[in-house]
């Protein structure tokens, strides 16, 4: 008879051979690292694209070195054509949202740490998990391929509104093969996400070790679980939308293209389709997607802060309930991207109310974080600095949401830099800060070495101040009416705003350069960093009970048993002011979840 207390697991033998160990690995840890590596590659590409965009916006006639090599037609002599700016912008958004923000915080950290934090040896479907990474990688290749087809990548933005994105090459450069490759890449990406979500949900629900009740799961696990459920439902809607878009391109259907359209004096052959249908399908996915990008960061920030505050959050349960509320509400608000889209104005008001209501759980989360700082014994290091920075950035990005949630104000702010400022603060900065915080925190566990603290702090300061210099001015530009997705500012009222753009460009280049410090730290420390113990942060959750780096089967073939919730800090125990989750030691505690 098998061991009745053992969690369900495929007891596989240790992997043999280079390919099985490092390429087609079934080990969730390797898969997590592969996702993180993919996100790293993607963020470098995405960031370089942003530098090119910023240079062009500040100096439209500038010859940007190397661009003519990427596209002879798109950047003759290195000067971007108007269409090429839009094409680069489209790929910037696509690569960042899909291959960085959906990948690193969720698939990267989650794959690595979710099984360990629940006390499992691996995820229940390792083959699906491996497939999920390689499918995502293929999706990335297909997206990048769009750069190299004759007319280049699509120019319709990462939101790809129809009929611009559905009419084909006649609508603009890149709208032929480039757009089809984009849609195919995203459809493939959806499949990868679904395979990943499958594993995350099953692991969180069914692979928990003895004693690991739902309320004893670390906040990171809750965050990844909630994100996986959102991903499952959101990506399952995006895929059909992309399939229908591809059909409009290659099969002559008219899902999204209405009748009587005239382009270049030619009447287009489509008829009867609905342009708004694309927007509804896309944003039904698109809004949960941005919560998919931020919720893992909320989990990481909570987890990192707790360890560095040496006390649990004021209320563990309230944070969980708020993340659940955010996820549930995220399906009801998507129309706030469509207030002036031509949708029924009553619908705009209807969507506005849940959008305003969603402020409440977001605020509670921030207040719990800030309230937990009161009376804490805060340790300052790179990980905790980025976590604190996340709070600041999330507040900044969040309050601009007060404006954008109201249709009447959206009249002035829609499609301006105000929106660009809002989503960059919450996604490009806060979510990325979550990734940085998690990296500095978990690097010792993954590699067995410490990252350089001095370099980490320099990285933090330059990035924190730099990010504010880049994105705070966007709000002012937006209030002044600076329209977004313009490759140059030729309108009268935008001329006085151009100096602001120049300032932002300089800030962007400096902040971008500062990321080299992080990259250097990451790679140098990997090989030469100071050796790390199993628990350098004196933290309590299960990942800190195993060696750094962990063995291939996480717990060395043993099945952990947990006796406490994961955040028993600020107690008097034999090891100090904390108790490991798997320690049977009985302690006096203010609150210990059962």
């Amino acid at each position: 008879m098998h061991d009745m207390h053992a969690p369900a697991v495929h007891h596989h033998a240790p992997p043999q051979g280079f390919i099985r160990k490092h390429i087609f690995s079934l080990d969730h840890k390797v898969i997590g690292e592969q996702y993180y590596g993919l996100a790293l590659l993607a963020v470098v590409i995405g960031m370089v694209l942003s530098w090119v965009m910023r240079l062009h916006l500040a100096w439209p006639a500038m010859s940007i070195p190397g661009m003519q090599l990427l596209s002879k037609n798109g950047a003759p002599g290195g000067i971007l054509t108007p269409e090429y700016y839009l094409q680069l912008m489209t790929m910037h958004g696509t690569i960042m949202v899909f291959f960085v923000l959906t990948t690193a915080p969720f698939a990267g950290f989650g794959n690595y740490f979710l099984p360990i934090q629940v006390g499992a040896e691996d995820m229940p479907f390792p083959r699906f998990n491996m497939m999920s990474f390689w499918v995502t990688f293929v999706s990335f290749l297909v997206a990048v391929a769009a750069f190299f087809v004759p007319d280049g990548p699509p120019l319709a933005g990462w939101t790809s509104y129809a009929p611009l994105s559905a009419l084909g090459a006649v609508a603009g450069p890149g709208e032929g093969l480039g757009q089809v490759l984009w849609a195919a890449s995203i459809a493939i990406f959806c499949v990868g996400q679904l395979l990943g979500s499958l594993n995350f949900i099953s692991t969180a629900l069914d692979m928990r070790c003895k004693g690991m009740s739902l309320m004893r799961l670390p906040l990171t696990v809750w965050a990844w679980f909630i994100t996986a459920v959102m991903g499952l439902t959101a990506f399952a809607v995006l895929m059909p939308a992309c399939i229908l878009l591809i059909l409009d391109h290659v099969a002559g259907t008219s899902f999204f293209v209405p009748s009587n359209l005239v382009v270049n004096d030619q009447l287009q052959p489509h008829s009867g389709g609905s342009a708004l249908l694309w927007q509804h399908l896309f944003w039904f996915f698109g809004h949960p997607e941005v919560y998919i990008a931020i919720v893992p960061g909320m989990g990481v920030v909570s987890h990192v802060l707790i360890a560095n505050m040496r006390r649990p959050m004021l209320s563990h349960r309230v944070l969980i309930y708020c993340m659940l509320a955010l996820a549930a509400l995220s399906y009801m608000v998507y129309g706030h991207h469509m207030f002036v889209s031509g949708m029924n104005p009553f619908s705009s008001l209807a969507f506005s109310f849940p959008t305003l209501v969603i402020t409440i759980p977001s605020t509670v989360i921030v207040l719990i974080w800030i309230g937990s700082l009161y009376g804490a014994k805060l340790r300052i290091n790179s990980a905790s600095l980025f976590a604190l920075g996340f709070i600041s950035m999330f507040v900044s990005g969040g309050v601009s949401g007060f404006f954008l949630a109201q249709p009447s104000l959206d009249i002035l702010l829609h499609a301006t830099y105000f929106v660009v400022g809002h989503f960059h603060l919450v996604m490009a900065v806060a979510a990325i800060f979550g990734i940085f915080s998690g990296t500095y925190f978990w690097f010792p566990k993954v590699t067995g070495r410490m990252m350089s603290e001095p370099l980490g702090k320099i990285h933090f300061w330059l990035t924190f101040v730099g990010a504010y210099c880049i994105f705070m001015p966007f709000h002012y530009l937006g209030l002044a009416g600076n329209v977004r997705r313009y490759q140059a500012f030729v309108d009268d009222f935008m001329q006085p705003l151009i100096p602001v753009h120049k300032f932002v460009t300089v800030a962007a280049l400096v902040t971008g350069a500062a990321q080299l410090i992080f990259l250097y730290n990451l790679f140098y420390s990997r090989f030469k960093g100071e050796k790390a113990s199993a628990n350098p942060w004196e933290a309590t959750s299960l990942e800190w009970t195993i060696p750094s780096p962990p063995p291939w089967n996480n717990f060395g073939g043993k099945h952990p048993v947990v006796y406490h919730d994961p955040y028993q800090y600020g107690v008097e125990a034999s090891s100090g002011d904390y108790v490991m989750q798997d320690s049977p030691e009985q302690i006096q505690s203010v609150h210990d979840e059962k």
Partner: protein, 227 residues
């Protein structure tokens, strides 16, 4: 708050997931009946069940998206042309339902075999092959439906109604093909000299297959009311 002292959690009162037993109704825990069998009992059944429900939820969302696209498209212009559904669809429906019945019979036979009540695995295998065959017939029948539609001059881009017909039936058929792969896997594992078919694998394949039935009935109703 009062201090809480901790005992190591008790197996009895605690609601911790005691995985490995209690897989949805005791007694269905398959153990080797005689030396010929590899453990048809397996530990991973709970996770597999979660996994399949999660997968079915995703598929449901996708078809919900297609449905809403259909509803919106139908309402957005006056060009929706109704047509008679190819009659072979009804035959295909019967074939698919038949395959589900065959699969259920196969499952019971496999269970009896695993409990050692029956020595001969040829019968459960036969029922599984029948399921597979009926599934293949269904897909072929759907192709015939396409041919019937083409003979009426209705192609993918002819009309929004025909577009959705092809898209919905194609997406469903693609998922059925996936189910066929699962069935083939179950058959091959049961056919091995020492069978390695796990209870959870067969359960997963079965839930998926039955869901394909339910999904098809839903799509048929959608086609029937809207087309």
């Amino acid at each position: 708050m009062a201090t809480t002292l901790h005992e190591p959690p008790q197996a009895a009162g605690e609601k911790v997931p005691e995985l490995g037993h209690g897989n949805g109704g005791g007694g269905r825990h398959l153990t080797p009946g005689n030396g010929d069998l590899c453990a048809l009992a397996d530990h991973s059944s709970v996770a597999s069940r979660t996994g399949i429900w999660v997968g079915l939820a995703a598929i449901t969302m996708s078809f919900a998206a297609f449905t809403s696209a259909l509803v919106v498209r139908q309402g957005s212009a006056m060009d929706w042309r109704h047509f008679a559904l190819p009659p072979v669809l009804y035959l295909n429906t019967a074939v698919l339902i038949g395959s589900s019945i065959a699969l259920e019979i196969a499952r019971r036979r496999v269970a009896a075999f695993a409990r050692g009540q029956k020595k001969d695995r040829a019968i459960p295998l036969a029922w599984l092959y029948l399921t597979l065959g009926l599934g293949v017939t269904f897909v072929a029948g759907q192709y015939v439906a396409w041919l019937q539609l083409k003979s009426q001059g209705l192609y993918l881009a002819t009309n929004p109604s025909s577009s959705f017909f092809y898209v919905l039936t194609a997406m469903h058929a693609l998922h059925v093909l996936g189910g066929l792969c699962g069935l083939a896997l179950a058959i091959s594992r049961l056919s091995q000299r020492v069978p390695s078919l796990r209870r959870s694998t067969l359960d997963t394949v079965s839930y998926y297959w039955h869901f394909m039935d339910v999904l098809w009935l839903y799509l048929l109703m959608l086609l029937w009311t809207k087309f």
